[in-house]
Amino acid sequence: MKPSFEYAALAPIVIMLTAGVLSVVIEAFVPRTYRRGLQLPLVFVSIAGSFVYLVSSATAILNGDAAMTGGQYQGLRQIAAGGSVAIDGPGMFTQGTLLLVAFVGALLFAERSVDPQGDAFASRASTLPGSEDERQFTAQGWSQTEIWPLFLFAVSGMLLFPVSNDLLTMFIALEVLSLPLYLLAGMARRRRLLSQEASLKYFVLGAFSSAFFLFGSALIYSVAGSMTFGTVATALTDTLQDPILLTGVGLIAVGLLFKVGAVPFHQWTPDVYQGSPTPLVAFMGAGTKIAAFGALFRTFYVAFGGLRWEWRPMMWVIAILTMVVGSILAVTQTDIKRMLAYSSVAHTGFILIALVATTPSGISSSLFYLLAYGFTTLGVFALVSLVRDSTGEATHLSQWAGLGKKSPVVASIFALFLFALAGIPLTSGFTGKFAVFTAGVEGGANALVIVAVVSSAIAAFFYARVVVLMFFTPETENTADVVIPSYFTIAAIGISTAVTLLLGIVPQPVLDAVVKAGVFVR
């Protein structure tokens, strides 16, 4: 029988994969000097193309679908590629967010005029740090254009991850997404020892957690007879509380919670955020979290929906741990990137509240929160990459003293992002938090909301501390200076600021889109 392969639905993933392959071809055949000139257009065109296609197919299906199902809006509903991909409202919205984040991420990747030696990635990753080779390669201005195929493959992995409809495809998407990021993490141009260490840690722990995921899916498969979510969900309902099932759910949870950065599995986040090159941290911080939460929601709402009363207490414990540890550990950080890493752990905790709510508003609020959080992270890390001193990025907080006076524009935009992360009204962060907390209370997780309120109070302290450091403390001699970037980063910062403000002041259109996205397809 002929394999069913709905190109229309899978278009975004297919476009990105072909772009990846094409960029490998460019790497192979085009001489070094022209490679960048070809890679950049390929990347931006492919992302833009797949986004345009996604939006058009979404509206088309939407109208068509609405017509088909007599107007009562049931959300986009389609199982594709022989059951291994589920294209539905939330899936498409996550893919849309991912493509936007990838676009801005690509802008940051392409930035070359911030670092005098070139872009943020090492001229030759294989050279020994501090060796003659490295000095020569840098002097001759070599640049590692292999980052683009890796970037494209990572994006395609992220696109597939939230929409995969069976455990095997999800595992493979997880690997496709993670491997390029392990590699990119080790290719920083500055402080290469730290970068290599970050990539080693990310790799070892990533492989470790994917093994858990795999064993969990094996156990689920042994009970349900198939790995597709639909059949798993129906199988769960009739088998009584089979212990193998719950162990499987637990192990899969370990795999996914690692990717999201929830507390017992969060220890990689600070080291990787601090070690890896900043453009990667920006893209990975936003992209991985969005994709991983997409997958987490799909698995726990569709596949294990029936076992809701079993896995909610576990998620309660994880959410509380994540929020509390995330915000408390961030208080005494001295490195700006590590502090932002812990704050990202705290934000994971807030989104877990929406997961625990197990209500349709839970899905829609998490989608909104991830969109808002994604762009704020991109903006924050884009700005961090601008604050530099002679040796590279000035990430120690003492080097940020008095930045408000030295370059008010960058400092005030950074303050805006910090307020967004803290959740001050009129910023996207606030609307996101409000939506998530409302979903939490509707889902009966009142205690979680109280813990969230307390931890965001603690979070407000260390955000405010940075604002005080920038605006109210006098300038010292080792205050870093701010580099004027090229249009790439300016565009990236501009987009993120605009999104952060718009989603704070006029969130209504996006909130409508999110609600219209509806629920997961079975």
Binding site: V24, A81, S126, D133, I172
Partner: protein, 240 residues
């Protein structure tokens, strides 16, 4: 105790011994060999589980290729690198055993549930398309076609990764033999630099050799022993 359980119990014990061997052996190469041994046992188990294709791929791909890659890397890293078994991190071993046992116990209590899995065998499935391999092929190219295509991306990433991180380029074209000889001869020092102490009263390392014209050659002294004042003189000697 029919044939299958006999085979199971032997290979199972060997597999567990292999795993333990991997964890507990001091030398890295021994661990690699223990792992290979355990994998072979697993291949045997696959045969009992009516998965001939899997068993062969296990032997050929996994044990053959992947483990060999490990051995190659071990050679790069140093075959005799062995790390002492005493623990550096405080409390790591104790906690590791504690958590390991706890996790193992919970896992096994979950898995060894009272409900015996209904074992309805694969004869039917293997028979559908005329054999195990055909069945798997049918599934791979029908049901999991997207997964199959996406793994290609995975493999390309792996290749690029290996190239990026491990392959060392040259930043200047390789010097041909002619260039090397011209470089040596045109530089001032054609004959090998004199050893310290040559044609001098004693062969202590800090006694400078004498040049044909009788002046002491600073260049012959190791860097540490040259008096600072003569530093430039030595340099001039080399380059002139």
């Amino acid at each position: 105790m029919n044939g299958e359980s006999v085979v199971f119990w032997i290979t199972a014990i060997f597999a567990v011994v292999g795993a333990l061997g991997m964890v507990l052996s001091r030398k890295a190469v021994h661990s690699a060999l223990w792992v290979a041994f355990a994998m072979v046992n697993l291949a045997v188990l696959y045969f009992t589980l009516q998965a001939p294709f899997l068993a062969t791929t296990q032997i050929v791909v996994y044990t053959g290729a992947v483990m060999m890659l490990f051995l190659f890397v071990l050679m790069i890293v140093g075959v005799d690198s062995s790390d002492s078994l005493l623990e550096t991190l405080k409390g790591q071993r104790l906690l590791a055993t504690l958590f390991g046992l706890a996790f193992g116990a919970l896992l096994l209590s979950g898995v060894a549930s009272t409900i015996a899995l209904r074992d309805n065998g694969l004869d039917v499935a293997n028979g559908d398309y005329g054999g195990n391999i055909q069945g798997i092929a049918h599934l791979v190219f029908n049901r999991y076609l997207l997964a199959f295509e996406v793994t290609s991306a995975l493999l390309i990433t792996a290749v690029i990764g290996a190239m990026v991180l491990a392959h060392r380029e040259r930043w200047a074209p390789r010097k041909t033999q002619a260039e090397l000889s011209r470089e040596r001869t045109f530089t001032s020092q054609v004959t090998p630099l004199p050893n310290p102490g040559v044609l001098a009263r004693h062969n202590a390392v800090d006694t400078p050799a004498l040049l044909p014209d009788g002046t002491p050659s600073q260049a012959s002294l190791p860097k540490q022993f040259r008096e600072t004042s003569h530093e430039d003189e030595a340099a001039k000697e080399v380059t002139s």
